[in-house]
């Protein structure tokens, strides 16, 4: 009788630990988490934060490297890259003089998020006009 009772206690203990473990796992992954959210954000917020507060520590080149890496990671995880990432990449590429790359990045943001079309097309147009003016002066 005593031996049977002991065995049942162990069984209950195991079941309970497994239950708690799976609940913890379930709540951690099932709700709004970095992977459970709508988009993949990567280092976007950190890029913005460092660029705004310590510009020297976040050069255009570093931004390109970090954001391109995040874009690859998003694809690997089959998650949609967050709004603004491609646009920020475009800004950094433009700063580096890589105009074609910048346009491609802006176009990608527009494709993923059509809401961005007016803003980004306007930016590209102003960029083109500035180039023309510079060309005219030369």
């Amino acid at each position: 009788m005593g031996f049977q009772w002991l065995k049942r206690q162990q069984w209950v203990g195991t079941v309970v630990s497994v239950a708690i473990g799976s609940v913890l796992l379930g709540t951690m992954t099932g709700c709004v988490t970095t992977t459970g959210g709508l988009y993949y954000w990567g280092e976007y917020e950190n890029v913005l934060h460092t660029q705004f507060t310590k510009p020297g520590k976040m050069t255009a080149r570093q931004q390109v490297e970090i954001l391109e890496r995040d874009i690859v990671k998003a694809a690997q995880r089959e998650q949609k890259i967050a709004p603004g990432v491609y646009a920020q990449l475009g800004l950094a590429l433009a700063e580096l003089g890589q105009r074609d790359g910048a346009k491609a990045a802006f176009d990608r943001e527009i494709m993923l998020y059509p809401e961005s079309a007016i803003l980004l097309k306007g930016m590209m147009q102003r960029g083109d006009e500035a180039m023309k003016q510079q060309g005219a002066l030369q």
Binding site: V32, L38, H49, Q51, A82, G84, Y113
Partner: protein, 209 residues
């Protein structure tokens, strides 16, 4: 057994961060939000920048397209506006014309950073937000982002509390505690904001709808 059941419920409730509320059928929320650089009533010069770097994610995850904040800041500067106050004065139809934004978020930073109070050092962030429809100028939502962290914790003596306060005050300046608090404050304040039109669309594409 009852203990584990209540623990389970706590975990479930705690694990699921704020779930957006679906608006009534007759309420149409804007698809896109233009967040302008905040005006700043605090002593922290970087407060608007730090706020901006943490506002996109919580809003976007709630179902809104948030215009890239750095692009927006540059657009303003390109058009000769250098202070947030100037930017907040731009007429809505002009903002809409240049960005296509269906709504604009106006933010004012009330308080930001370390508050040294001798026996404790408190890190406080306070920002007031107002969401306005570009078409009508109607304010459809206001929110108060508030969060704070106190260094005064488990101190056994007054001396410890004093030292703790000074250490926190100094380290707060070296390492930005307001970054995490900003996220926390914004996330919490968005509890009262309806979900945006993009939420269901994005969930559908993800295959979770």
């Amino acid at each position: 057994m009852k203990f584990f059941l209540s623990l389970f419920m706590c975990l479930v409730l705690a694990g699921c961060a704020s779930t957006p509320h679906t608006p009534r059928a007759d309420i149409v929320m804007p698809r896109s939000i233009l967040v302008l650089p905040p005006t700043n009533d605090s002593v922290e010069v970087d407060a608007p920048s730090i706020f901006l770097s943490t506002v996109s994610k919580p809003l976007a995850e709630r179902g809104y397209y948030v215009f890239p904040v750095d692009v927006v800041a540059r657009l303003m500067r390109d058009n000769g506006m250098h202070t947030a106050a100037q930017m907040h004065q731009v007429p809505l139809d002009l903002l809409q014309q240049h960005t296509g934004a269906e709504a604009v978020l106006y933010v004012n930073i009330r308080q930001w950073g370390q508050k040294y109070q001798v026996v404790s050092s408190q890190t406080v962030v306070k920002a007031d937000m107002k969401l306005v429809l570009s078409d009508t100028g109607a304010t459809i939502w206001t929110g108060k982002a508030r969060a704070s962290h106190d260094s005064a914790g488990n101190h056994n003596s007054l001396a410890e509390a004093l030292i703790g306060a000074v250490v926190t005050q100094i380290s707060g300046a070296l390492y930005d505690k307001t970054y995490d608090l900003s996220r926390e404050a914004i996330e919490r304040s968005l509890d009262t904001l309806y979900e945006g039109p993009l939420l269901k669309e994005a969930q559908y594409l993800k295959g979770s709808l």
